[in-house]
């Protein structure tokens, strides 16, 4: 009986510590994200950056297709690119906290010594990037609808599917970020490249701007193993209402099947995140890497 009481208290304490870690890290992340410059410059930067990224894609598409912006494949590509902003924002936002705290602020060892749940802290640090990322997605979508005739009709949007997919996708990206954060604990050299490299590789592999059929056959299985592939498809279907013929990869799957695959892969990444953290945390403590700085 006393053991049960103890276990229950311990469980409550763990959740209390996790919530505390997440809450304070969210506050810290927002302070860091929003205070690096004055509010006006921050607002301008937040608008210009996503629009500039989208403009590159639009110009490339325009040149290659001779300006066929009415073709149904264009909104498919445009939406894939717009929502891919979340991949960089959430996934690298979570993992960047390790590098930022260790190399820049030199606080990782004090964070580690504090009675917090480190994964919850990392997730909290990613929230600010999620918020700024959401703003960037909205700006990009608005620009697409207003200036490029991306077909967006609120009445035709499958809102339940969109909200469910978005939520599931953000959770999945955060869990992928945890895996990356754990690996970042172990890597002192070239760490700056990890987030960018992974986000870049996934951009090619997840069907964001072209169907998986374009990839060499030996690379396609990697694309199918990535939950982002299914997530982007669900987001596009929920907003556009149908499947673009130029993107036949997942046309044989129903929305329910895609949701099931996305949920399953998210659970898998959740398990991977837990295992990766345990392994990397132990290794980092054994090798003395937690407060090791490179002065790069």
């Amino acid at each position: 009986m006393s053991r049960n009481v103890y276990s229950s208290a311990s469980f409550r304490e763990r959740w209390a510590a996790a919530w505390r870690s997440f809450r304070v890290a969210t506050w810290l992340g927002w302070q860091i994200e929003s205070n690096w410059t004055d509010p006006f410059l921050f607002a301008v930067y937040s608008m210009v950056k996503p629009l500039a990224s989208a403009a590159i894609l639009v110009v490339m598409y325009g040149v290659i297709t001779n300006g066929q912006f009415q073709h149904p494949i264009f909104p498919y590509i445009y939406l894939g690119n717009a929502f891919y902003i979340y991949v960089g924002a959430v996934m690298t936002g979570v993992s960047w906290a390790v590098i930022d705290d260790r190399e820049h602020y030199r606080t990782l060892k004090y964070i580690y010594v504090a009675p917090i749940r480190i994964p919850a802290y990392w997730l909290g640090r990613g929230v600010a990037r999620f918020l700024t990322g959401s703003f960037a997605v909205l700006i990009t979508l608005a620009a697409g609808v207003l200036f490029l005739h991306v077909p967006f009709h609120p009445a035709r949007v499958n809102w339940p599917l969109f909200l469910l997919s978005l939520t599931l996708g953000v959770v999945m990206l955060a869990l992928m970020g945890l895996v990356l954060a754990s690996i970042s604990l172990m890597i002192a050299h070239h760490f700056f490249l990890i987030g960018e490299a992974v986000a870049g590789a996934l951009y090619l592999l997840s069907g964001a701007i072209f169907p998986l059929e374009v990839l060499p056959p030996w690379l396609r299985p990697l694309g199918f193993a990535m939950p982002i592939t299914y997530w982007l498809e669900l987001i596009r279907r929920s907003l556009l209402g149908d499947v673009a013929r130029g993107f036949p990869t997942l046309s044989g799957f129903t929305n329910g099947q895609l949701l099931g695959i996305l949920a399953g892969l998210s659970v898998l990444f959740g398990l991977m995140a837990a295992v990766a953290f345990r392994l990397c945390d132990r290794q980092a403590r054994e090798k003395g890497l937690i407060d090791q700085t490179t002065n790069y």
Binding site: R20, R106, G288
Partner: protein
């Protein structure tokens, strides 16, 4: 394990291995700590005295759960540092000197408040403690200053407050006055002493390579060199070991080839250390008794070395260090600690 022990280590050791990146072979092994056995009771201000690279920081990293030992075990607050870090962390805090850690975009109050939140301190209580501690350490007027705008010394003071803010059972201070000017270092030492007086049940483990700091602050001191603890006792007891002997400082002209080894060969000379001084040298002697001094003076005269000034003095921790290590602490500096 006694319930009264805050810290206990048993044959604790740590070896760093450096691998060849290409061949994946172990290129070099650095022994940072070896066979460290310590028992620190609750309520004690315990000092680790040793030069840079002696293993002090490595020991603190192990005790604060940041680093795993390679041999032996350590317990903090009764919990194993490898298997039970989550039980240790709510009970401890740490501060490292000589660094500029902290979130520069946040004010002093925000930095401290944030860390207080990690420890579950209610906001109102955290703010009360922040104001109190900042006032006591002389930083109250900078409470709304962004920490990036603080000088290195003031930033270090802020970090010291961070360590004390959570009222830890056991506090680890790694060279807390490193890089501070004389007045700031004195303020910090006084702050630590007052805190210990006000919290007699709390334990502080402090590392330093300043003899005065260890002598002034610590209830007990462990002298550590090259990863080994050479002696552990109260500063008084350590000095008492040398009180049976006679200590002399002799300022001389150029030594003219005279060596410490030659002097140590004389009857009654326990230890001789020669170091450069302005326009000559300083000879520190540990003699079995005063009567050994004429022999030393005789050798100096034979070598045409003139005595400028001669002082007989009380032993210090520096003398204890020289007695144990064979060299002054300044000569031991410069070894790189991993």
């Amino acid at each position: 394990m006694s319930a009264d022990l805050a810290i206990e280590t048993h044959h604790l050791g740590r070896i760093y291995t450096i691998r060849n990146r290409r061949e994946r072979r172990i290129r070099k092994e650095i022994v940072a700590l070896q066979d460290v056995n310590l028992e620190v009771p609750r309520g004690e201000l315990f000092g680790l005295l040793g030069p840079n690279g002696a293993g002090k920081t490595t020991l603190i990293k192990i005790l604060t759960t940041l680093l795993a030992p390679t041999t032996g075990w350590a317990r903090v607050a009764g919990y194993d540092v490898v298997r039970e870090p989550q039980k240790i962390r709510p009970r401890i805090n740490m501060v490292s000197g000589g660094e500029t850690s902290g979130y520069g975009l946040l004010t002093v109050r925000e930095n401290l408040w944030m860390f207080a939140q990690f420890y579950g301190l209610p906001s109102r209580e955290a703010n009360r403690r922040i104001e109190d501690l900042l006032r006591r350490i002389g930083l109250a007027d900078r409470i709304h200053t962004k920490s990036s705008d603080l000088s290195t010394g003031l930033r270090q003071k802020m970090n010291i407050v961070r360590g004390f803010l959570t009222d830890p059972e056991i506090l680890f201070l790694d060279e807390p006055t490193l890089g501070l000017d004389v007045n700031a270092a004195r303020d910090v030492r006084q702050f630590i002493r007052e805190w210990m007086d006000a919290h007699p049940d709390r334990t502080v483990l402090l590392t330093t390579h300043y003899m005065v700091e260890a002598d002034e602050l610590c209830d007990r001191v462990a002298i550590i060199s090259q990863g080994r603890v050479l002696a552990c006792d109260s500063p008084e007891a350590l000095k008492r070991r040398l009180r049976r002997e006679a200590l002399f400082d002799i300022e001389i002209t150029a030594p003219n080839g005279l060596t410490a080894a030659a002097l140590e060969a004389l009857p009654g000379v326990r230890k001789a250390v020669l170091s450069d001084a302005d326009g000559g040298a300083l000879l520190k002697l540990v003699l079995a008794e005063d009567s050994a001094l004429p022999g030393v003076i005789g050798v100096l005269t034979e070598r045409a070395v003139r005595v400028r000034h001669l002082t007989k003095r009380e032993p210090t921790l520096e003398d204890v260090f020289v007695e144990l290590v064979g060299r002054p602490l300044a000569e031991e500096e410069g070894r790189d600690e991993p």
